[in-house]
């Protein structure tokens, strides 16, 4: 179950991971994109963390909404509207129930797909969101399953996002958004959200 407290910890831990890996994420994006995924995500999550730490939330739904709006207005790249749409959809779902964590993640995935129109297997963050949801549904979300899902993107040819312009030259590289999504679910694991 999500609470204001564990959701704050989750997203703050996510921010800290992004901050630590900013250069690495940008380096991944340099290979198959425009080299800004790390700085985009660092700018966005740092602003989000500040908002989370300085606001007294009365609900998880409200927390996700503020997180979403902050990312949408600060990230500056595709990951802004994508993570933003995920968190907005999660905010809606959390209004209905904070008990069912897979349902919240499912809403997030649907939010991303509504925004970016990517299906699974197009070498985007969708691949890791979808794999994490599968794992949550079967109680098998571990560092290992997350890592596997992230690594899977290396072998795929991109058909959405900037990397799609590279066609078969995108093969052999990790998708930066998949890697940052990996950090989101690592942070979830570390946050005692799922038992």
């Amino acid at each position: 179950m999500l609470t204001v407290e564990n959701t704050t910890t989750w997203l703050v831990t996510f921010t800290d991971k992004i901050t630590q890996q900013t250069a690495y994420l940008s380096e991944l994006d340099q290979a198959i994109g425009d080299g800004d995924h790390g700085s985009n995500m660092a700018r966005g999550t740092t602003a989000m963390k500040a908002k989370l730490e300085n606001t007294a939330f009365t609900s998880v739904s409200e927390l996700f909404k503020v997180a979403a709006m902050t990312l949408i207005s600060t990230v500056g790249g595709a990951s802004g509207p994508l993570y933003g749409s995920a968190f907005l959809a999660m905010s809606k779902q959390a209004e209905a129930s904070t008990e069912d964590v897979p349902a919240i993640i499912k809403a997030g995935l649907e939010g991303i797909q509504k925004r970016g129109k990517a299906e699974r297997g197009e070498k985007t963050m969708v691949d890791v969101w979808a794999a994490a949801l599968d794992a949550l549904d079967t109680n098998t979300l571990t560092h290992h399953t997350i890592e596997e899902a992230v690594h899977e993107t290396k072998h795929i040819q991109a058909t959405k996002g900037r990397a799609a312009y590279l066609a078969d030259r995108s093969v052999g590289h990790l998708d930066p958004g998949a890697v940052s999504t990996g950090y989101l679910f690592e942070a979830m694991l570390e946050g005692d959200i799922i038992q």
């Binding site: 425009d34 800004d36 985009n40 949408i72 207005s73 600060t74 500056g76 790249g77 595709a78 990951s79 802004g80 509207p81 994508l82 933003g84 749409s85 925004r115 970016g116 996002g161 900037r162």
Partner: protein, 125 residues
Amino acid sequence: MTQAHFGVVIVSHVPELAKGLVALLKESAKDVPITYSGGTDDGDIGSSFTNISQAIEENTADEIFAFYDLGSAKMTLEMVMEMTDKQIHLMDTALVEGAFTAAALLQGGAPLERIMQQLKPLTVK
């Protein structure tokens, strides 16, 4: 000219690109309300929710043809569209050709259907 009903909004990752395209359009569409958003809040390359919202709100027209360059420009435009009262036609055309076609036809007073019809073959995304 009476207050125009239709306007054009340009959204690009690069401030100079957006600004330059507007200069090109204005040559053939001096009476059409055209506004733009280029780059991030800090003027770097990327997209800004705030700048795009502003370009839409500052445009004196109520119904807008919006043109964009790549990925996040479109997605951010869509987020703004969900939060504005204005009617926005998000066009997946080649940026320069599409925007020029719309602006020139609007200057000539063409109706919506006619403009849509001419934009359709310019769809590239």
